[in-house]
């Protein structure tokens, strides 16, 4: 875990209400995909937790949806804005469990963490396939970036305006994958949990006080005991989840 000052380099709209922010700063505390950062915003008492979408030495990329005052404030930030960010938070996905052909499923604001995960898996010689779920075609983002990694991308939209009509589970194969990695709204995670036939890792959201394990604001029950989503999570193993 580290606190650092990051400078906004790019803050661009990917789709209506969805933005990509590229920040320059010290990323050395980030250990892997599925981790998150916690961003301090002027005038807001609590930080905003956002997943790492991608990172490299000195560079952090996040993708966020405008859902309230804080994310709206972020959407108006211009290049050069300096942000106080805690990095290296949460456990992240375990890549060792992927098998050769893991299935990555992201829904809406749960799509971003799948990107660095896919990139890492590809670089390890795995063949991940990706399912992206949105409400409608115009919400789509990151599809081309995933395709540029050489992974197979299937899109599902709830209204059928693009790709498979329905939910991500309607685009899920019955078998043929070795592990599930997923992030998205809880009903989506539950549906994937019920349909999936392999082991898997599921990333959860919770309202947070601190984001680094101090306040017990984010605790949930698992089969392996109480876990703080910000610390022992946000990624839980399929076998330990209690709905």
């Amino acid at each position: 875990m580290k606190r650092g000052l990051f400078t906004v380099e790019v803050n661009e709209k990917l789709a209506p209400g969805t933005f990509r922010m590229v920040l320059a700063g010290d990323t050395s505390a980030i250990t892997g995909p599925g981790q998150f950062v916690n961003i301090a915003l002027e005038g807001k008492f609590l930080r905003r937790p956002i997943s790492v979408c991608d990172y490299a030495e000195g560079s952090l990329t996040i993708v966020y949806k405008v859902v309230g005052k804080g994310t709206e404030q972020m959407s108006g930030m211009t290049a050069g804005t300096v942000l106080d960010i805690l990095t290296g938070l949460g456990n992240g996905y375990d890549l060792d469990k992927s098998g050769q052909t893991p299935l990555l499923i992201g829904g809406g604001a749960g799509v971003p963490p799948m990107y660095n995960l896919a990139r890492k898996l590809v670089s390890q010689g795995k063949q991940p396939s990706v399912i992206l779920g949105f409400n409608k075609a115009e919400e789509l983002f990151l599809k081309e970036e995933f395709e540029a990694l050489g992974v197979a991308v299937t899109v599902a939209t709830a209204d059928g305006s693009l790709g498979v009509k329905g939910f991500v589970t309607d685009a899920m194969p019955a078998e043929g994958y070795t592990h599930i990695y997923t992030c998205g709204p809880e009903p989506m995670l539950k549906a994937i949990y019920d349909k999936s036939v392999t082991s898997g890792q599921f990333s959860f959201e919770e309202r947070m006080g601190c984001g680094f394990g101090a306040c017990m604001g984010c605790t949930c029950k698992t089969k392996y005991g109480n876990k703080r989503i910000c610390r022992e999570g946000p990624v839980l193993e399929k076998e330990e989840i209690i709905w």
Binding site: A40, F45, C210, F212, A214, N226
Partner: protein
């Protein structure tokens, strides 16, 4: 060099800054951010007799200038705290520890305080009387002078270490509660705990917190805390640990001028993991600027 040391009932603190119970866990997480031995003392997470999971999620809601929490006293229970958490904290931390004890019955307070008092690792017993009394229709111990008196007296009977009673601000007359603590034999007072509040999600048209209500803390409550410390200092001759919305060295000084001997920092630790360290580093600088040579001399200085 200015002097920052203070004393709480004979317990020496190198400076008056103490992270508040529930916002600092048992210290380990913060030890990853900085050396926690710079702290005046630590007040550890509120502990009950049985392990508690606490309330369902969501437990946290943001507010203007602060936050609501409805953690619901999640803790591993007094036996585990004494056997495991405190020894583990002691491996990395050598300064005073305040055990923060909660109870839902008189028996629970007495048993937990006795066990905390017997631990070689504790220095002060901080008794949180904000919980509902299960034997009195769920009315909070801390809102009734008689119940506060009884808890204080019973706890004092089993403790050898200083007992500080932590007061709830959700009362009409904080002074009568503070007086009841004094009569019960308290060595000092901690104030304030959180103020009961509520937020609604206007899209879902429902409360944000699963518990419906939560405790408000953060800078929004600072003036309420200063007022209560002021009133209690005027009326009751006991050392006060002040808290509620402290964010800066200036806030520490303001609270001490109102009557606090030491100051706790709560929610600020969550927004900024370095909050206590930054306040401690800044305190001598602000003291110099204000011409304060010895911090002890400003306690109650505004009266």
């Amino acid at each position: 060099m200015v002097k920052t040391a203070v004393s709480l009932s004979g317990i020496q603190l190198e400076n008056p800054v103490i992270p508040a119970s529930g916002t600092f866990g048992f210290g380990y997480e913060f030890a990853e951010w900085y050396d926690i031995n710079c702290l005046g003392a630590i007040s550890v997470k509120g502990t009950t007799r049985e392990p508690r999971f606490g309330n369902p999620a969501p437990r946290i809601a943001e507010t203007p200038g602060g936050m609501l929490n409805a953690v619901g006293l999640q803790n591993p229970g007094i036996d585990k705290v004494v056997a495991e958490e405190l020894p583990r904290l002691r491996q990395i931390y050598s300064k005073p520890i305040l055990a923060n004890i909660s109870g839902f019955s008189m028996d629970e307070f007495v048993e937990c305080c006795a066990k905390a008092d017997a631990s070689p690792h504790t220095n002060i017993i901080e008794v949180n009387v904000s919980c509902p009394n299960v034997h009195h229709g769920g009315m909070s111990f801390g809102t009734d002078p008689n119940m506060v008196y009884n808890v204080t007296k019973s706890v004092k009977a089993v403790c050898h270490k200083p007992v500080y009673v932590k007061l709830s601000p959700n009362v009409t007359d904080i002074v009568s509660i503070a007086k009841a603590c004094k009569e019960g034999g308290a060595d000092g007072l901690s104030l304030i705990n959180t103020l009961m509040g509520m937020r609604l999600d206007i899209k879902k048209r429902k409360p944000i917190l699963a518990n419906l209500t939560g405790g408000l803390s953060g800078p929004a409550v600072f003036p309420v805390a200063v007022r209560m410390i002021w009133q209690v200092y005027e009326a009751v001759n006991l050392p006060i640990i002040g808290m509620g919305g402290v964010q800066s060295a200036e806030d520490v000084i303001e609270m001490m001028l109102a009557g606090a001997t030491a100051v706790q920092v709560g929610a600020a630790n969550l927004a900024n993991p370095y909050a206590c360290k930054e306040i401690i580093d800044n305190l001598p600088i602000v003291m110099e600027r204000l011409g304060i040579q010895d911090i002890k001399e400003i306690i109650g200085g505004a009266h």
